[in-house]
């Protein structure tokens, strides 16, 4: 067995978002009702977990899940661990309100420096705001190569070769570590939790970093400037199912006609 320090350190960024299946919309005001809505793993980050655990298996990487959020988000981090991730780090930023995405990337990148890394994996985007900014911003702040939409990863020594989706094509890119990748959906073997791993995950010690622990200039942190003017749902189609009656032949004819319209 090699020592942990000799292992490749892969950090998977996990974003907690409100569980979209549990969010309800107020009928009249059309605002989102978020009270009691539990946080969950951003669905795009599930693919990050798959990729990280693929590397854990293939090259015996030490995988760390990193999560930025309030203390409530700890449960999300534990859920991520329950897929078999080795270690969890939580960056607690409860007092800072809604930070803009650059400030979030700044916090995350400083946390990265603190914990150390060879490879950083992020989701393509997040299902709540879908800005897709965190990955590239972090790479810029850390001054490391960035490759988006990665579908395959090969690592030999410090050389990294990936296949990534680029518009309609798959391109192959090589670079050196450390680097940051965002992961394309459904590219790595889907991992399930097991009951054993879930129980272990909830017993693991989680390292908590606060702003004080990081080399952060607080004045550089900015609140989100995006102001939400209106939230609304796409209008529901009021189509009703039809029940057709008649002879089979007539019905088939009618259906064919309907289909031809499309």
């Amino acid at each position: 067995m090699r020592e942990v320090s000799e292992k490749m350190k892969v950090v998977a960024c996990i974003k907690p978002i409100y569980n979209p299946e549990k969010v309800k919309v107020h009928k009249r005001t059309e605002t989102l009702l978020l009270d009691d809505v539990p946080l969950t793993i951003n669905p795009y980050d599930k693919f990050v977990i798959d990729a990280a655990l693929y590397l854990q298996k293939e090259i015996n990487a030490h995988v760390i899940a990193l999560c930025l959020g309030n203390p409530e988000a700890e449960n999300v981090l534990r859920k991520a661990l329950s897929f078999g991730i080795n270690e969890g780090v939580m960056v607690n930023a409860p007092s800072l309100g809604e930070l803009n995405s650059l400030s979030q990337s700044y916090l995350l990148s400083e946390a990265m420096k603190k914990i150390g890394f060879d490879l950083i994996l992020c989701g393509k985007t997040s299902q709540d705001y879908r800005s897709g900014l965190t990955g590239p911003q972090m790479a810029e702040l850390l001054n490391i190569p960035f490759i988006p939409n990665v579908k395959e990863i090969r690592i030999e020594k410090r050389e990294l070769t990936v296949k990534a989706k680029f518009q309609d094509q798959i391109i192959q890119v090589s670079t050196h570590l450390p680097a940051l990748l965002t992961i394309q959906e459904n590219s790595f073997p889907k991992r399930y939790q097991t009951s054993w791993e879930i129980h272990k995950a909830y017993k693991k010690e989680i390292k908590v970093l606060t702003v004080k622990d990081l080399n952060i200039k607080e004045e550089a942190l900015r609140e989100a400037v995006t102001k939400v003017k209106k939230k609304f749902l796409p209008s529901e189609t009021k189509k009703r199912p039809q029940i057709l009656e008649g002879k089979p032949k007539q019905l088939a004819h009618y259906l064919l006609k309907q289909l031809e319209k499309y």
């Binding site: 449960n75 534990r78 859920k79 329950s82 399930y192 939790q193 097991t194 009951s195 054993w196 791993e197 879930i198 129980h199 272990k200 995950a201 909830y202 009703r240 199912p241 029940i243």
Partner: protein, 400 residues
């Protein structure tokens, strides 16, 4: 906080995992295996790998360490999607694996628990005989000491997992004259022991993918070190196993009730879309409301009982002293929830069938299967009449 019935974050995470896993990996196979009346080996392998076969057992012995509450959460979700799967895992875990953990010595625990928790070895529970169903003390299977071994002779019937199990917890009379009080002993029997045979498979109205067999002991030789607990202590082993089995089985039947209620809601909503507003009809509202009331009542009592069983088992496993009053309270509550929850499920599924009418009565559709599958909850691990006998006897003696 005695009135806090909420689950921990860990338990919620576990339930979420179980649900998702079953939806993706088990549900697609359920109808097929029911129809074939075959053991769903494909799904059993998957479930074993995901850790469904050792949920309550401490990690030290290869289990997941979720205790009886976690195990009940799993059974609830499992029975919601298929009662046959729940029976296979329930017979393995609740009434074979758990009693080996509770009453086994360290050698027995280390020998049997890890491979059983991984699902590499499957367990079964052999108590019932042609002459010993409800009257379980009337065991005719005998075990005679012969040197360092016991020689078992007799036949057990209706043994869940009979044809797929590797490890059997078997109850036999070591001293007929003493009967239940000191005359019955529990043995761990492996399927490869000489003189052990699996007999006929029963054809059943429901839980068809869960095999039920006769098992035969024809001068079956069992090493002395495979006595579980003390000689003559077997009836207590059986009753303790059944206390846990009944409580957790009730969580399973709770899953059946929830399924039925969900199906009723689905039907009402579908009809709503078709402009047949049956949800406005008072009778339909009664179906749904009554099942919901019974479900919530059962849910609270089931998990309260399961929590009690968890405490109880913890003490037994640690060889701590348990008061008679606590033991009898656990038995009474387990009996209560067994009857309550299984009947709640049967009623809910019967209402669902009535609501679906022709679609409920049609073979191959889920409601008909659920109906056939639900009734067993009122029969196995002691009929509901026997549960009532236990409850009444205890209450008359000691009050509510």
């Amino acid at each position: 906080m005695p009135f806090d019935f909420s689950f921990t974050k860990e338990q919620e995470c576990f339930r979420e995992f179980v649900k998702e896993f079953l939806e993706n990996e088990v549900v697609p196979y359920v109808g097929k295996y029911d129809k074939l009346e075959k053991v769903p080996t494909v799904t059993i392998k998957k479930l074993a790998k995901a850790g469904f076969f050792g949920v309550p057992i401490p990690e030290k012995y290869g289990g997941a360490g979720f205790g009886e509450i976690g195990y009940s959460i799993m059974l609830e979700e499992l029975a919601r999607v298929d009662n046959a799967h729940a029976t296979i895992i329930g017979a393995h875990t609740g009434i074979c694996l758990v009693p080996i953990w509770l009453f086994g010595n360290e050698e027995q625990r280390e020998k049997y628990l890890p491979s059983m928790c991984k699902g590499e070895k499957i367990g079964a529970f052999g108590l019932t005989e042609p002459e010993a169903g409800s009257d379980a003390a009337n065991i005719q299977t005998t075990a005679e000491k012969d040197g360092g071994e016991y020689v078992l002779n007799g036949t057990k019937m209706f043994i869940s997992n009979g044809e797929i199990a590797d490890v059997f917890l078997v109850f036999a009379a070591t001293n007929k004259a003493l009967g239940a009080r000191g005359g019955i002993t529990a043995f761990i029997v492996e399927k490869d022991f000489p003189g052990f045979k699996v007999g006929v498979k029963e054809k059943k109205m429901g839980i068809r993918a869960a095999p039920t067999n006769e098992i035969v002991f024809d001068n079956c030789r069992v090493p002395e070190e495979n006595v579980l607990g003390k000689v003559g202590y077997g009836f207590i082993v059986a009753l303790t196993a059944l206390d846990g089995g009944r409580a957790t089985l009730s969580a399973g039947t709770l899953g059946g009730t929830r399924w039925a209620i969900e199906k009723m809601i689905e039907y009402v909503k579908l009809n709503d879309k078709l402009d047949r507003k049956i949800g406005d009809k008072e009778m339909v509202q009664w179906f749904i409301a009554n099942s919901a009331i019974e479900y919530e009542a059962a849910r609270h009592l089931v998990y309260q009982t399961v929590a009690m069983v968890e405490q109880y088992f913890h003490k037994i496993a640690n060889k701590e002293k348990v008061s008679r009053a606590f033991r009898e309270k656990v038995s009474r509550y387990s009996a209560m929830v067994k009857a309550l929850s299984s009947e709640t499920a049967s009623r809910a599924i019967e209402r669902t069938l009535q609501l679906y009418s022709s679609l409920g009565y049609t073979e191959g559709l889920p409601v008909e299967k659920a109906f056939r599958d639900s009734i067993i909850g009122e029969i196995y691990e002691g009929t509901n009449e026997i549960q009532r006998w236990i409850i009444a006897r205890d209450i008359v003696e000691r009050g509510l």
